[in-house]
């Protein structure tokens, strides 16, 4: 089991948004999180990535296997595309970035300052970062935002290749990627009920 979540509850801004959530992700599989805006997809992904502590429950994953890609791509506008990518490759202890550049058709743009890229190209650069990390479980938050149709297909191919190589992906997206190994998880049944204040202070509020 690559990633296992049991009885997880997460909160955003002090309010519990999801509770009782359990699922498991095995190698070669992708899990797509579905649910309306504000249900807690981002919060869930950040909790699994370890950026915030869950209210309760356990996240079990092999150490150093997760990589998180959020709404922001973490791109430095003054560095070139290849410099941005090599920085992240070095952070994760890798050297080779040419494969990642190829996979997202960024090779012709390699020497361009990242600040000059369009929104879609920036996103492609942000996604290329996943490839240089060498991590097995990808946590993706709306990965296809601002990508055009070709780029979405490109991204679907990359994810399929990653799954084929024994990786796994947990993603929040509204777009159909056409992945053969993907299952869906609807978050609506896990929406937390409004929390009753049952502690002593509650009587005075």
């Amino acid at each position: 089991m690559t990633l296992e979540v049991s009885d997880l509850a997460v909160a955003r801004g002090g309010v519990c948004v999801l509770e009782g959530l359990s699922f498991a992700l095995s190698p070669g599989r992708a899990l797509v999180l579905r649910g309306p805006n504000g249900i807690g997809k981002t919060t869930l992904l950040r909790a699994i990535a370890g950026l915030q502590a869950p209210l309760s429950g356990v996240v079990r994953a092999a150490p150093e296997s997760l990589v998180y890609a959020g709404h922001a791509d973490g791109i430095k506008a003054t560095l070139s595309v290849s410099e941005n990518l090599s920085f992240w490759a070095h952070v994760f202890g890798n050297k080779d970035i040419s494969q990642a550049l190829d996979a997202f058709a960024l090779t012709p743009l390699a020497d361009r300052p990242a600040g000059m890229l369009s929104a879609g190209q920036k996103r492609r650069l942000g996604l290329a970062r996943l490839l240089v990390t060498g991590r097995r479980v990808w946590l993706l938050d709306e990965p296809t935002v601002s990508l055009d149709r070709d780029a979405v297909a490109m991204f679907a191919d990359v994810v399929a290749a990653h799954l084929g190589a024994g990786g796994a992906a947990l993603m929040a997206t509204h777009i159909e990627l056409g992945l053969a190994d993907a299952s869906e998880l609807d978050l609506v049944p896990f929406r937390a009920r409004p929390v009753e204040l049952d502690d002593f202070d509650g009587a005075f509020l």
Binding site: G70, A72, D73, G74, K76, A77, T78, V91, F92, G93
Partner: protein, 213 residues
């Protein structure tokens, strides 16, 4: 650590602190008037205060830029210890801000007619003291990261923490200018710097983890 290169190159604001230091110190003779002996007496204090304010100016760039473009989240999930990341950030800040100030200070000492005996101690005190300014500043930046318009709050938080460094740093420079023995305040200054470097990266990392939630 490649974070250094990134911080240095993407930091911008490199010349900004130095230029600010230059202007503040140049303005002082205009404000005080051309009285050489008075200028010589206040020169060490003015130079230290100028360096401190110049340092303060660039503090919010340490982490705010990384926060805005999401790199900070990604760095937090990267296999680097957070303590290491903030230490490198502080080091990068010192190299881009503190070190140029140290190198420029003798020239500005000339402008303020600092006595000849004072140049060595002045440079030495800044060299020993400015790393503490960067490390304390990084702690302040970690406290205020994610706050909109956190710059003013950052200054208010950090300036009181700069007081010990300022006292001993200016004291070294002042005693040096008066050709007195300055070993004791210099040791105290070095102690403060070592202490902050040893302790504050851990505090900054802890605060940053809380702020990233």
């Amino acid at each position: 650590m490649r974070d250094l290169r990134l911080a240095v190159r993407a930091g911008g604001g490199f010349g900004l602190g130095l230029a600010f230091f230059l202007i503040v110190v140049t303005l002082v003779p205009f404000a005080v008037g051309p009285r050489t002996e008075l200028l010589a007496a206040i020169a060490p204090g003015i130079l230290w205060l100028g360096a401190l304010l110049a340092c303060l100016l660039s503090l919010d760039r340490i982490l705010a830029l990384d926060w805005e473009d999401g790199s900070l989240d990604l760095l937090a999930t990267a296999p680097l210890p957070m303590e290491g990341t903030v230490s490198v950030k502080a080091l990068a800040h010192w190299l881009t801000t503190g070190l140029p100030l140290v190198l420029a200070s003798p020239v500005l000492g000339l402008l303020l007619s600092l006595p000849a005996a004072g140049y060595g101690p002045l440079v030495l005190s800044l060299l020993v003291g400015t790393p503490a300014l960067s490390v304390i500043g990084t702690f302040g930046a970690a406290l205020t990261v994610g706050l909109r318009r956190g710059g003013l709050l950052l200054s208010l938080l950090v300036l009181p923490l700069y007081v010990p460094t300022l006292i001993f740093g200016a004291e070294v420079a002042r005693r040096g200018a008066g050709a007195l023995d300055y070993a004791t305040p210099l040791l105290m200054l070095a102690g403060i710097t070592c202490g902050t470097i040893a302790v504050l990266p851990f505090a900054s990392a802890a605060v940053l983890r809380v702020n990233l939630r």
